[in-house]
């Protein structure tokens, strides 16, 4: 079970006093993938991450990170895992390259300094003091420090919170670079677009429980969301000169006609047959939209008590 998993979590529970914040969660993160823990504030994402990073011991359940128990072997784990925490300061008077080089000295097999600067796009500011860096540059410096030991696994706790769009894009590019380097990445975020853009697989955590897990499409399918097919309403249909297609729940909304289906291929075939039979051509503006993570998330949120 854990042979293919960089991270294995089973029945994880965590209580602070009488309050249980994790109610027995299970998930695996495979080697080389970007896995995202998605959920609103207070869902338990950071608590889960702190347990996986070895900062906190769980109340119950089994946790394995790179084959180690993080609570029992934190020092060994930190030689192989890089961590970008939610909020973390720097020695402000240190220079960028100097600080990264110091961090490299902590590890047995560090990445070359030049590589690190290149991966996080900080080569141009290598001699700048940390206090003079922008917020986005500091976050990328965070990444560089997390990568200094050439880790097999990188934890990223809400890496783009508070960023402007440009800084977010550059941060995403840095995470894409991690993927290209073959790193396993465990990411937490409450931004749906971020999860959709970056993650190979996601788990939606809500109130200390994993509600759904899988790829974006798997999650949407499990949430029972349908694919949306739309096209420009033909004038003949708008005037009532042709009948509505049988077996399809098509709604005509003025200039646009829309239907939702669980079997996009079959519905598409039926629509095109109907159009041909009624001489409607190729259906202008035909678009097939798979359910987005946002739809899934909103549906889940709506359904929850």
């Amino acid at each position: 079970m854990t042979g293919d998993a960089a991270v294995h979590v089973a029945g994880l529970r965590m209580s602070f006093g009488a309050t249980e914040v994790l109610h027995g969660i299970d998930f695996d993160v495979r080697y080389g993938e970007v896995f995202c823990l998605l959920g609103p504030n207070g869902a338990g994402k950071t608590t889960t991450l702190e347990i996986l990073e070895g900062f906190t011991a769980q109340t119950a359940g089994h946790v394995s990170v790179l084959g180690m128990n993080p609570a029992a072997q934190p020092a060994r784990l930190r030689e192989r895992a890089g961590m970008v925490l939610q909020e973390c300061g720097f020695p402000r008077q240190a220079r960028v390259a100097e600080l990264i080089d110091l961090w490299r000295s902590y590890y047995p097999n560090p990445r070359p300094l030049g590589d690190l600067l290149e991966v996080v796009e900080l080569t141009e500011v290598r001699n700048t003091q940390v206090r003079k860096l922008s917020g986005g540059q500091r976050r990328r410096l965070d990444f560089a420090l997390a990568l200094a030991g050439d880790p097999d696994l990188v934890f990223l706790d809400e890496p783009t919170t508070g960023f402007d769009p440009e800084a977010r894009r550059r941060c995403w590019a840095a995470i894409e670079n991690l993927r290209r380097l073959g790193k396993t990445v465990l990411l937490t975020t409450h931004y749906l677009d971020e999860a959709e853009q970056l993650a190979d697989r996601i788990a939606i955590l809500r109130a200390g429980r994993i509600e759904l897990a899988g790829t974006t499409h798997e999650v949407a399918a499990r949430a029972g969301l349908a694919t949306r097919i739309s096209f420009t309403t033909p004038s003949a249909l708008r005037c009532g000169q042709v009948p509505l297609p049988g077996g399809i729940d098509l709604s005509v909304r003025g200039p646009e006609s829309v239907c939702h289906t669980g079997n996009a291929a079959m519905t598409l075939r039926m629509l095109l047959d109907w159009a041909r039979q009624n001489s409607l051509g190729d259906l202008d503006g035909l678009a097939v939209t798979a359910p987005r993570l946002e739809d899934t998330y909103l549906q889940l949120t709506r359904d929850m008590p």
């Binding site: 609570a71 020092a75 930190r78 300061g89």
Partner: protein
């Protein structure tokens, strides 16, 4: 062990570079005691302590030396660690495999280096401007006193950092805690004054101590143990002097070891728990 020492040295180097790059930090740690020395020393040049033939500057210069030690090792280190915690730097360190001993060692080595610079500058100015120079035979005692005093106050600085809850209150709490620590400092001081003349003068700078007179007497007592002011200095064998130094030194080390308790308690903050012997897998 070698790795820990190497990492501590690198950490100390970064700390020193950061120290000198922060103009106001360096100014108030390094230049402030020197400014006080020049201003007050100049105002008191040529005058003597009441009822003695001791020049005020003879007491004042080592007093400023001790003041520099306290500012660098106690106030600055204590408030610095509190700020590092507040800013999350200590948490960041915990994400790495850096041994806590290397990190704390680096901070302490950097503090000692700062103290050495302050001492050299203060001693040089005290000598050139006011003619206050240590006796050649007491240089070793001076050096030992400086090192032990630095370790002692740095340890207290690390301890006081644990009660500072915010970066904003770091400086005020570190300064205001001098009177609160008076009794403890007094005991440390009593060991230091036997070990080295320098540390004795620190007593004169602890509030509420009746300062100058007591400091002058202790300074004389350390330099000329067992003698009243005005009595000639006896000829003493090296071995005997060493024995006289060694006993209080041993007591001081014991004292310092006791002071390390709060530091040991802070270890978890600098670093997470060490790996347990058996892997749980």
């Amino acid at each position: 062990m070698t790795r820990t020492i190497r990492l501590a040295a690198r950490q100390a180097l970064l700390e020193q570079r950061s120290f000198w790059r922060s103009a106001e930090y360096a100014l108030f740690t390094f230049a402030f005691p020197l400014m006080i020395l020049l201003l007050i020393g100049a105002a008191n040049a040529g005058s003597h302590l009441p009822g003695t033939d001791i020049k005020r500057t003879t007491v004042f210069v080592p007093g400023i030396l001790a003041f520099g030690v306290i500012v660098a090792a106690y106030v600055n280190l204590g408030s610095k660690v509190a700020v590092l915690r507040h800013d999350g730097v200590l948490k960041r360190i915990r994400t790495t495999p850096l041994p806590s001993g290397a990190y704390i060692g680096g901070l302490l080595v950097s503090t000692v280096a700062t103290v050495v610079f302050i001492t050299m500058a203060t001693g040089m100015i005290g000598w050139l401007a006011f003619g206050a120079a240590p006796r050649p035979g007491e240089l070793l005692a001076l050096a030992v006193g400086l090192v032990l005093g630095t370790v002692c106050f740095a340890t207290l600085g690390l301890a006081i950092s644990s009660v500072i809850t915010s970066a904003e209150s770091a400086g005020p709490v570190a300064y205001a805690s001098f009177p609160a620590d008076r009794d403890h400092l007094g005991r440390v001081r009593s060991h230091l004054q036997r070990a080295a003349g320098l540390a004795v003068a620190a007593g004169g700078h602890v509030p509420g101590e009746g300062a100058r007179r007591g400091a002058a007497e202790r300074l004389r007592g350390a330099a000329l143990p067992g003698l009243e002011p005005g009595q000639p200095r006896p000829v003493d064998g090296r071995r005997r002097r060493f024995r006289r130094l060694a006993v209080p030194l041993a007591r001081f080390v014991t004292e310092a070891a006791g002071l390390l308790d709060p530091v040991r308690n802070r270890r978890a903050e600098f670093h997470g728990p060490r790996d347990r012997a058996q892997p749980v897998m």
